[in-house]
Symmetry: C2
Subunit: 339 residues, 2 copies
């Protein structure tokens, strides 16, 4: 009898500039066996996130680069099909560091149980997962908006931005955001309920659009994008403004050392604070954030969207699509249905 | 009898790029008379500071631009020769907002008494004045160095930088700095006692010089300069690094919108905080800072230098020289001796 196998994605070579399908390969591998303390998980959903681009380079701003030839890592939701961990049972629905694959082994200590009620399990990768927590801590602990302030969110229709924008709105701020399509802007205005959404692809002048959307200037900038959008925001920051640097997706595929307008001089008179952060720094309070986010969803004050790509064959397209802004809300890949 | 007159400097036209002597004119004007609550001050020293360049433009990052044709403003030390303020007496030695001139009127509420002992009165414009306070609050309240950390100060031999570097040294940090001459670097090593001083004009590679001076990376960057020095510092910042943006003298004379390497992306993984500040935000605690600085001078742990230009004729040369780095420590203009 053949040993059981499964499919998953490897990186064939490190992307240069924008990742392309040819940088990756869908391979068939023997299904892994859990070691002591590990579980074997059948992957139901895996996440694709912009930060992964950094891990695909040789050097990373975040952490060491991913090795070539190994199945790519991703947060995922799955079902335990084999357990060598005392507290994890076959059939458990869990979230943890899985792979762009149909199966993955993971330490039983590194996974958390997923409640299939009240929200779909995929939200454990989005609004109730890492992106939701990133928005929560970045907005409330780093940016700290105050009632009446104007908050600008770039990438406002993305997994993190859509939550960040709504959290600011709950805190009685004027909230504006940028997104890359009219459909996203409509969602931001009608569903997320923000005050002004700017389609940065069609705006004749980002500066004028920001002036119109934020007539009193910008107090808080939650930046997921960087580049030209951020260049347009900085001159419009108010005195005592705060900038939370969450992501810079516009730059992840730029080779070399990108240049842009210098920003430090303008920060002196404005007493602007710019702060980079990682969601991992708040991991000890992850469950507090997720409970709060779940409460807000139940109360109907926090909406979310997901863009679901069907099948492991679609992982790379889903990932590459992040850089074209193809996703509304959280982008996930549905690998399998529950048994 | 002719009415009494005095000499002072006006701006003939707003400088473009680097200020030139021809942008200014030494004029003779009637000596002003104090209004109710004001005093007439005979100027003994006036300050020239890099921030003044901003006030000479039409638009300023700090405050409104200075008007053309009026005697230029400057912090100064002088002697009251006429008083219409109940608490100010003729003969009082004071510091306050004066002018690039031989006489100035100023509200008696806006001046503070200067003690001619133990330090020369000119230090009320330097180490015991605005630049000293800027270093004090910027280093201790914004940058917050911790024992054992590496602190980098650009413009380390200047009025602010020289004090900032020594304060960091007192807090048991490894302190490195940049300056524009070997003489300044020698002073920084031998008198200020910092660990490594880099002559940025002669260093073959700023990056290599920083690597050698800060083998464990940079935790705190107190930036007076901006531009290429700052570009070399940012990639060497450590996790949880702090940047206090005090000044950007390298950019003050650059017309248009200068560009440089983008810095936000690198700040995410490092969780860097970059903060602009103004000394005026700490004015309610000015005397605390000045008392502390005076104590340190008495204890012999805080050294200072002054570059003194003689005579009101020299004001513009002294000011323009700031941008060529001609001053070691605080640059002042001696306008007159005490009567």
């Amino acid at each position: 009898m053949d040993e059981p196998s499964h499919r998953g994605w490897i990186m064939k070579h490190r992307p240069e500039g924008k990742p392309e399908r040819g940088d990756f390969e869908l391979v068939r591998r023997p299904r892994p066996s859990p070691g002591p303390g590990e579980t074997l998980v059948r992957v139901l959903y895996h996440s694709v996130d912009p930060y992964m681009r950094s891990r695909m380079g040789d050097t990373s701003n975040y952490a060491e680069g991913w090795p070539q030839g190994k199945l790519l890592r991703a947060g995922g939701v799955g079902e335990i099909v084999e357990s060598r961990h005392p507290d994890r049972q076959v059939g458990d629905l869990i979230r943890g560091p899985l792979r762009w694959a149909e199966y993955a082994t993971v330490s039983g200590d590194q996974v958390t149980t997923v409640d299939p009620q009240p929200a779909p399990i995929s939200t454990a990768l989005g609004v109730l997962g890492m992106p939701g927590r990133t928005a929560y801590f970045g907005m409330l602990e780093v940016a700290e908006p105050k009632a009446g302030e104007t908050v600008m969110v770039s990438g406002a229709a993305g997994a993190v931005g859509s939550v960040a924008a709504q959290i600011a709105k709950m805190h009685d701020c004027r909230v504006i955001g940028t997104a890359g399509s009219d459909q996203k802007c409509t969602w931001l205005g009608n569903t997320a309920g923000i005050d002004a959404a700017i389609n940065y692809r069609t705006a004749e002048s980002l500066g004028s659009a920001l002036d119109a959307a934020a007539p009193d200037g910008i107090d808080v900038y939650f930046d997921n994008v960087g580049g030209e959008i951020t260049d347009a925001v900085f001159p419009r920051l108010n005195t005592w403004s705060r900038v939370a640097v969450c992501g810079q997706i516009a730059l992840y595929n730029v080779e070399g050392r990108p240049t842009g307008p210098r920003k430090l001089r303008g920060m002196i008179g404005r007493r602007t604070t710019v702060q980079g952060f990682l969601v991992g720094d708040f991991s000890h309070r992850a469950s507090t954030a997720e409970d709060r986010l779940a409460d807000w969803m139940e109360q109907g004050v926090l909406s979310y969207e997901e863009t679901v790509t069907e099948g492991i064959e679609g992982s790379v397209d889903a990932f590459v699509g992040l850089f074209d802004g193809e996703n509304l809300g959280k982008q996930v890949v549905r690998v399998a249905d529950r048994c």
